[in-house]
Symmetry: C3
Subunit: 155 residues, 3 copies
Amino acid sequence: MSDADLLFRLAALNAAYARCIDDDRLEDWPELFLERCTYKITSAENLRRGYAAGIVYADSRAMLRDRVAALREANIYERQTYRHIVGMPALREAGTIAAETPFLVVRTMRDGRMDLFATGVYLDRVQDDAGALRFAERIVVCDSSRVDTLLAIPL
Amino acid sequence: MSDADLLFRLAALNAAYARCIDDDRLEDWPELFLERCTYKITSAENLRRGYAAGIVYADSRAMLRDRVAALREANIYERQTYRHIVGMPALREAGTIAAETPFLVVRTMRDGRMDLFATGVYLDRVQDDAGALRFAERIVVCDSSRVDTLLAIPL
Amino acid sequence: MSDADLLFRLAALNAAYARCIDDDRLEDWPELFLERCTYKITSAENLRRGYAAGIVYADSRAMLRDRVAALREANIYERQTYRHIVGMPALREAGTIAAETPFLVVRTMRDGRMDLFATGVYLDRVQDDAGALRFAERIVVCDSSRVDTLLAIPL
């Protein structure tokens, strides 16, 4: 697979990921990960200091599903919607399937107000799983350390 | 045409669309639509509630041209400029030419202040019109319901 | 090289450019330019008025390196970080290697606050330099004229 084709497939995977969240189809979101996977939300400062701990952590698709179920039960995120704007992936090495991709999320409140909710970079390792690309690892590195501790939705 | 090629042509169409507006070449904007077309601006909430009505509606290229002429006459949008940041299109089905594409628009006022003007998603149906891709339908779904009722420029 | 391939290589160049700045690897940033090159930051209003002068100007890779060295010495930008979100390049003419690319930069302050720092368009001329694309010219046209006169980082 050429780098151009790979970039396109990664861009398509990122678009699918963003749509799950922004269209409030959270149940589809875990399906974009491998059964055994790493999903973590952390901050650039944590990463710089070598703190392994993230704000959110999951190591299997089952945990991601549990997380979505808990969110649905808590029902606390309904008052706002999100919009991901995701940049083009940069392959960490030519030919590999490890990528860095910048993102920005805008939050819209029920009353129509919009704010910059988060910016950062996705550090990804991706695998071809029977013809579909899925995340083996997605580490969400937020630029701001002031990420909402009640962070409900996936980023 | 492969999906990768199609995505590229869609990305190029979206870039041309954004440039017409952001470079204030509004007269070129209707040319990106088919003669018979649908252009609509609405909100996610309207769409959810099944309201067909949009904030802006046109069903032909001629109507889009009229709209631009009216804007030029009114001349009310000159004090600000806009910048579209448009994500990668997601094909609704592999091989089709129906796409969803997230967007964000920043407005810059004459005095230099910037704000988040709009975010949302383009729901598009596109056709190859003698070698050039054009919009058969573009429905602009804004995340915020508080879209400016005096909305002047196309989104 | 097809337009699709060219767009991909441009998108990869833009991603590399953004990462140098956002990851604070400024020393790698001049390497993305040719030895003899033009780098300029200006505003849309300056451009419209025909003012040649920019806010920042360099005409060689050596000048860009000097700029980075001065920034490192001044050490004034450490309190904030930046995140570039860069759109897809639009080729100015099919087959050429001159492109226009919209961008948005979000700044995150040490205390976690985020703001829209800059939006605008890159006007680029690019060359293949022994297999790697490099900038012969990058003119950064900011939408706002109120660009920080103490502008430290490259945009």
